[in-house]
Symmetry: C2
Subunit: 431 residues, 2 copies
């Protein structure tokens, strides 16, 4: 294991030298959002680094893109393609390693080290990408089955198409926010008494506000409209990954979603973690996903089994009183469809994918009751209490509750993680 | 009726002095996309006009935004708000009228007139707006009923929510193209024999490629995330309108759309007309929409009856042999929900609407068989031939077919129209 000269890097940090995730920061000294990477408790300011005379020598692949880390999003960097991300990540790993081949740039340069290494508590995180379109898939098999059974009964839990194609829907990009943003409880049309006929909606704050534990995937390079991305080339179109909480108002969703899918039940907010873990950093953690017993259409056949990642995922709920309970621990391996399959399917008809587009995996739940990625499942459709520390219980979220998602791979000293994806619920706007 | 000094303005042009729609053009002399308005057979180049010394005098409301018409989209202009659009439209109407109060600027300025008035056949049209999110509603009552009956039978044609809220779904913004762009037939998963169980999809070019006749609405000013737009204020958030063809692959859609809504059946292409007709220009053509027998939730109550527009709509189909048949003539009044109601519903839970967001009305069909805005309806679910000139018939679109949508209001000499929304079908990409 290679070690770093950066001080105070805990062996349990998700931001080890094996990671090097990219994000967008601002600071009191430089309030214009710009690029950084995370290492231990620090953010290395790539804008300041790129102003160093030796930048083009250390990052020869960026010699024609010297201002790229001064931009307010990572889109231009992402658009350079995966081989460039790989070279830049390796060069940063070298710069930060104890045995760096360029000690003069940062390790032995007290002035730049002092200004360019910000303690992360002193920087503000921003959305890492300008997101053109956001698509949310439904690839979490155990979630799709459990929720399908609740909405439509166990006989029709999985629709006939589920094992043939990665089902997904177009989401709302305008309401994607970075971790830490307050989430306002949405008002919407809800049916208080679902047994009454005809159904009578009322306009009220959602009473069934929920989370969805997901992995998000950012696109790097686009395809032209009319062309499709082959499943075996799709990895090359991926920039990296974030944790994603697809906040969901179940009562609004239940009433609105037929026949055209979720709308106001979802579009009030989606939270993502701020640091984009590059695709390369997750490569060592590949594993096999959920078996699909249906023969695949050719365009979905990857010719490999290890097509998902085994990321340990954890969801904590903090009550307004401050008590924290881990309500879910599971793995991102419980997907029936991989991101390459989602990309191949999404572009099959020629739909153009653009740099910065975001794909959500769909809610990730494991087979056991402690592995459910939504309160809808944890409370068995809102029928059972989820027990919390502090003698408290929940079926859905209360005002003042905060939800923190964490995800990490690897062992002590070389962890690759996402940090936190956090949101706290505010009361609804007055009617 | 006020007349214009611009030459050769036919009394039947959709671009009379009563209209003044905005678009984005480029020309061989100036290939960088920039703003223009349409008048008769001409495009008035607003970039060249804004470089005239008197610009700030003629458009005092733009005196701090002199470069606004040099931008490649209309977003910055739209973001200035409806009162600014109103003043600018009025000032342009004055500049172009025979009795203009500023003859020295254009009417009597041969040099600028010569350079700034392009014949429209000499300019290329571009997408008028940078579109953040695209949402497609389902407000065309006769279409929703007819298609619902086909997919789910007449008993369940309209879902219980249909008359309570404007049903809609998030569309794909990356595949919105301007009129004239070739449309490639999408490949997708389709079920050839819908009676076989279990259903077996195959991957093939769509065999049921269709159109959807819609009106599109561009947003001007945003709301903040967490706040909603009141239905009575929503008009102030509207920039203007375009014609929209929501190309649809019915076979792909039928297989994929449960439970999360349309996806690849729609996201391969959406065509819009290039000229944005400002909201003010349509005001004289207000009328009453389709009666809704259900008492409205308060947030949807506009307190007025004339909440839609009576735009005469026409769809022509041109075969590869060149024969043109008008397959539909109807009116945009056949909506059960108005755009202000769609905006109020969309933002009810706090979803932020941004400048340049596009809303589609949903397919507009009238009650009679000649007024159906999709081939699905015209062919009664693909079961009957639609008769065309040239001894030809269609149920769905063939490669080489072109579809032209037109829309116009008002009487000769003062027409307010959209021009054309055109697309021609290319064969599918090789599998």
């Amino acid at each position: 294991m290679v070690s770093t000269w950066v001080p105070d890097v805990s062996p349990d940090t998700p931001f080890s030298l094996a990671n090097i995730p990219f994000g967008i920061i601002s600071s009191p000294a430089d309030p214009a959002p710009h690029a950084a990477i995370a290492i231990g408790s620090y953010a290395l300011d790539l804008k300041l680094l790129s102003q160093h005379a030796a930048f083009a020598d250390v990052f020869p692949v960026l010699k024609n893109h010297v201002g790229i880390f001064e931009k307010p999003t990572l889109n231009e960097f992402a658009a350079l393609g995966r081989s460039v991300h790989r070279e830049v990540r390796r060069a940063i790993q070298d710069l930060l390693s104890a045995e760096t081949s360029h000690p003069e740039v940062l390790k032995d340069n007290a002035e730049l080290r002092e200004t360019a290494l910000h303690h992360r508590r002193n920087v503000k995180m921003h959305l890492p990408m300008s997101i053109g379109d956001y698509t949310d898939f439904y690839a979490g098999f155990h979630h799709a089955y459990a929720v399908g059974a609740m909405f439509r009964g166990p006989q029709a839990a999985l629709q006939p198409n589920y094992t043939h194609l990665p089902v997904g829907y177009h989401g709302r990009s305008s309401s994607i926010v970075v971790s830490g943003t307050l989430i306002q409880r949405p008002v919407g049309q809800i049916v208080i008494d679902p047994t009454a006929e005809p159904k009578q909606p009322t306009t009220a704050p959602s009473r069934r506000l929920d989370i969805e534990l997901e992995l998000g995937c950012f696109l790097a390079t686009p395809n032209e409209m009319g062309s499709s991305i082959k499943v075996t080339n799709a990895e090359d179109h991926i920039f990296g990954y974030v944790l994603l909480n697809d906040w969901s108002a179940r009562d609004i969703q239940t009433w609105e979603y037929v026949p055209l899918g979720p709308f106001n039940g979802k579009n009030f907010a989606t939270t993502i973690s701020p640091w984009v873990v590059l695709a390369d950093a997750l490569e060592p953690f590949r594993t096999k996903g959920i078996d699909n017993w249906t023969p695949l259409q050719g365009y979905l056949n990857e010719g490999r089994e290890e097509n998902v990642f085994d990321i340990e995922l954890q969801v904590d709920l903090q009550t307004p009183e401050g008590d924290v309970t881990t309500i879910c621990t599971t793995s991102s391996k419980y997907l029936m469809w991989s991101f390459p399959q989602m990309i191949a399917h999404h572009s099959l008809g020629g739909c153009p994918m653009r740099t910065g587009d975001l794909l959500g995996s769909g809610t990730i739940s494991g087979p056991s009751m402690r592995e459910k990625g939504s309160l809808l499942e944890l409370s068995e459709g809102g029928k059972k209490d989820v027990m919390l520390y502090g003698m408290d219980v929940r079926r859905f979220l209360k005002d003042g509750d905060a939800v923190r998602i964490q995800g990490t791979c690897g062992s002590s000293g070389a962890r690759v993680g996402f940090g936190e994806c956090v949101g706290r619920i505010m009361g609804a706007a007055p009617l």
